[in-house]
């Protein structure tokens, strides 16, 4: 029956998928049985009791025993199906405590992801094999839906709140993600990929940020970090004073710090500010900047420095 499974369902990419499939096939065989039963009875009647002029038909109004049977038997089967489906659903609704959390944001018509270490990716999630992954999802515009057929999971991604789904990938390779809630013109192009890797491959990807990050010019990478890691919420690029100093024209200038030191803005200054912002306060500013220690890759830090250099 392997061919039937392969013809009917996508590949089983998670532990959960196997459980869903077993219920799927249970319902299928029950359905086939009842459908054949009805079909055979209909065609037997049509053939056996074909119209003959003048034939009398028995006046059968009802048969209590028969009616009880055909009420009770389907009821029992449906109760079984309900509890089976319920058990699977609850298993799918409650992620294990050790699940790795990835944040998913849907937006017309891209998926973006953020990993525990702050790494971000677009339309592509990398996950290690055999480790539960929990997706915490929200949308920035309309309702989307994160559907991974191979994992048998699906959940609407709703603006204004968070929803979640989880899976435990068992199959290495690429699995397609569809947006399954209609969201407009690009709905059918709002696809993504789940790339299931070995632990080593996954860690390597996290560390290097993948090929894309390695190839990106440093200044561009810095601009990306500036937008994505939240620098832009406090540091302006046009010289206007926000919660933190603007980056415009600060490179190579000298600053008088709150504690009286005078320092020149160079590579070490920028790096130190990012790692220990509390020690690098300028007069007139509060100590509000979080430390980025361990949250940025080496190449990203260099990128930010290059980016600041370019703000003349």
């Amino acid at each position: 029956m392997n061919w039937l499974q392969n013809f009917t369902l996508p590949s089983t990419g998670s532990v959960f998928a196997g459980e869903v499939d077993s219920l799927f096939w249970f319902i299928t065989w029950v359905s086939v049985f009842f459908f054949l039963l009805i079909t055979v009875l209909i065609f037997y009647s049509v053939w056996k009791y074909k119209y003959r002029a003048g034939r009398r038909t028995p006046h059968l109004e009802h048969n209590t025993k028969l009616e009880i049977i055909w009420t009770v038997v389907p009821s029992i089967i449906l109760v079984v199906v309900f509890f089976w489906g319920f058990a699977g659903y609850i298993a799918g609704a409650v992620p294990p405590a050790n699940a790795m959390e990835i944040q998913v944001t849907g937006k017309k018509w891209v998926w973006s992801f953020e990993y525990p270490d702050g790494t971000r990716s677009v339309n592509e999630i990398h996950v290690p094999v055999n480790r539960p992954v929990k997706l915490v999802m929200t949308s920035e515009d309309v309702i989307h839906d994160f559907f991974i057929p191979d994992m048998r999971v699906k959940k609407d991604v709703v603006p204004g709140r968070y929803t979640q789904e989880w899976f435990n990938p068992t199959e290495l390779g690429t699995h397609v993600v569809f947006c399954a809630q209609y969201c407009g013109k690009g709905h059918s192009d709002m696809l993504a990929k789940v790339i299931v890797e070995t632990q080593a491959q996954y860690e390597n990807w996290l560390a290097t940020g993948g090929e894309e990050m390695q190839k990106m010019p440093l200044k561009e990478l810095g601009a990306k970090v500036y937008e994505e890691k939240g620098c832009s919420t406090c540091h302006s690029l046009d010289g206007s004073k926000g919660n933190c100093p603007s980056w415009k024209g600060i490179w190579a200038g000298s600053n008088k710090m709150q504690d009286g030191r005078t320092m020149v803005v160079d590579e070490n200054y920028v790096r130190k500010t990012m790692m220990e912002p509390g020690n690098m306060l300028l007069p007139g500013y509060d100590n509000i900047m979080p430390s980025f220690q361990g949250l940025l890759r080496e190449r990203e830090i260099t990128g930010v420095i290059e980016f600041i250099k370019a703000q003349k």
Partner: protein, 122 residues
């Protein structure tokens, strides 16, 4: 209708007047109760009084007491369905978990802007 033709016009008129008086008294009570604080009981009291008033209007003014039961059944079906609707919506909204992503505080927390006096306005 057959009951009506049999019933006494004078008695009917009196019952209508009494009903109006009771309705007005109940209106006073419900307004009065709104000035007292019963915690969450206020809504319950207001709704119970409203339901008593609505029932009086239905039974006496709309003659449901004397009509065929089907007419009243239609009305009750309407209310019943409405409560089901509210009930299920409430079950859903009440039992939704408040899910938050783990990083909601870190790494970059934007300090609350001095704006939003709205929060105090409540």
């Amino acid at each position: 209708m057959s009951e009506h033709t049999a019933s006494n016009p004078k008695k009917d008129a009196i019952s209508y007047a009494v009903t109006l008086t009771v309705l007005l008294v109940l209106t006073f009570i419900t307004v009065g109760a709104s000035y007292l604080d019963f915690g969450s009981g206020n809504v319950v009291i207001a709704l119970v009084i409203a339901t008593i008033k609505a029932s009086l209007v239905g039974l006496i003014f709309m003659h449901l007491l004397h009509e065929k039961p089907i007419d009243g059944l239609v009305l009750v079906a309407g209310f019943l369905l409405l409560s089901l609707f509210l009930g299920f919506c409430f079950i859903d909204i009440d039992s939704r978990g408040d899910l938050q992503p783990a990083n909601v505080k870190a790494p970059v927390l934007v300090p609350a802007k001095p704006a939003a006096p709205a929060a105090k306005h409540q």
